[in-house]
Symmetry: C2
Subunit: 163 residues, 2 copies
DNA sequence: CGCCATCGTTAGTCGCACTAACGGTGGCGG
DNA sequence: CCGCCACCGTTAGTGCGACTAACGATGGCG
């Protein structure tokens, strides 16, 4: 029995209490969950200081890059459910970052348009996110960050294709 | 205005509806969240078929690798909050996978021990998880999987050290 | 004209991370 | 010895994100 193994004992409150089983550390799913929890917290707190949430960014970016769209289209583009989109757009409209107008050609739809103020906000959020991501990826070299993003994207694409 | 920019139109319901802004695809935090959502769903559904949850695995693995422990110690080792640990241990005890006994040396504590049945279950869950992770990491070569895990772990360690 | 799909909206579910507060117990310093 | 503080397990509740169900209103199509 090695010293490490001997250190398990339930009567050793602090000794090995924080040790994490290898079985867990080897599981990609767990590392992913854990990292995402921390990443989300980092981003949410950072954006909160700019009176924003990550959904705001997703919607503004989508509007900026692809132009005005209905709420349903925005849902598909951002991955936000249309049920939740309602609230997000309320928040954005309150802040005058987007405008919500009925589509004259189809009365079921609203056409969402980004405002000048929305564009400014988007530019600012981009900067904020740059800083936050620099913190998130701090331990990685530029090459490693690229590598990480590439692997991440390949995995995500694979699991997204059937949907 | 480029053709790409011209293609935005709100009146093009399906054309570019599913296109995802580059701004979003470049953000590690977003790719992480998205992938984790899918990963979690995959693992949860897989474990559900074995009448288990990922928390079960974490607790059983911790007990197997480090021996009996108090609930507080298990909390620290698995990352499960002690508030939630109660329910997890109830589920595990119901299934006779662990035993919960008061610590004679300290009446505040329970000593949790893995049972023979628990050990069997752990072995089975390990196999189930192997299969699920193979599906999760399907698009990556063995070398790339190692690389991915290494990058993931370095990031997580960096964001875990202060806590 | 009748049927079905789509749109925005409301409400509600589920899992997970996390906080607050409790009664009970233990350890330690004065 | 005793008073205070830290720790333990437990209960309850919060907040958020993903997701479902159902609605009334509208549109498209056979």
């Amino acid at each position: 029995m090695t010293r490490a193994e001997a250190a398990h004992a339930a009567d050793r409150p602090d000794d090995g209490a924080r040790r994490i089983p290898d079985r867990l550390r080897r599981r990609a799913s767990r590392q992913l969950s854990q990292l995402t929890t921390r990443s989300d917290r980092l981003i949410n707190e950072g954006l909160a200081q700019a009176d924003a949430r990550k959904w705001h960014y997703a919607v503004l970016a989508s509007l900026q890059d692809f132009g005005p769209a209905s709420q349903a289209t925005l849902s598909k583009r951002t991955g936000i459910y249309r049920s939740d989109m309602v609230g997000v757009l309320n928040e954005l409209a309150e802040r005058h970052l987007v405008e919500r107008a009925p589509d004259p050609a189809d009365q079921r739809r609203n056409i969402i348009t980004i405002s000048a103020q929305g564009r400014r906000r988007l530019r600012r959020l981009d900067k904020v996110l740059d800083v936050l991501h620099d913190e998130l990826l701090a331990p990685l070299s530029p090459a490693e960050r690229d590598q990480f993003m590439q692997l991440l994207t390949r995995l995500l694409d694979h699991h997204t294709q059937n949907s």
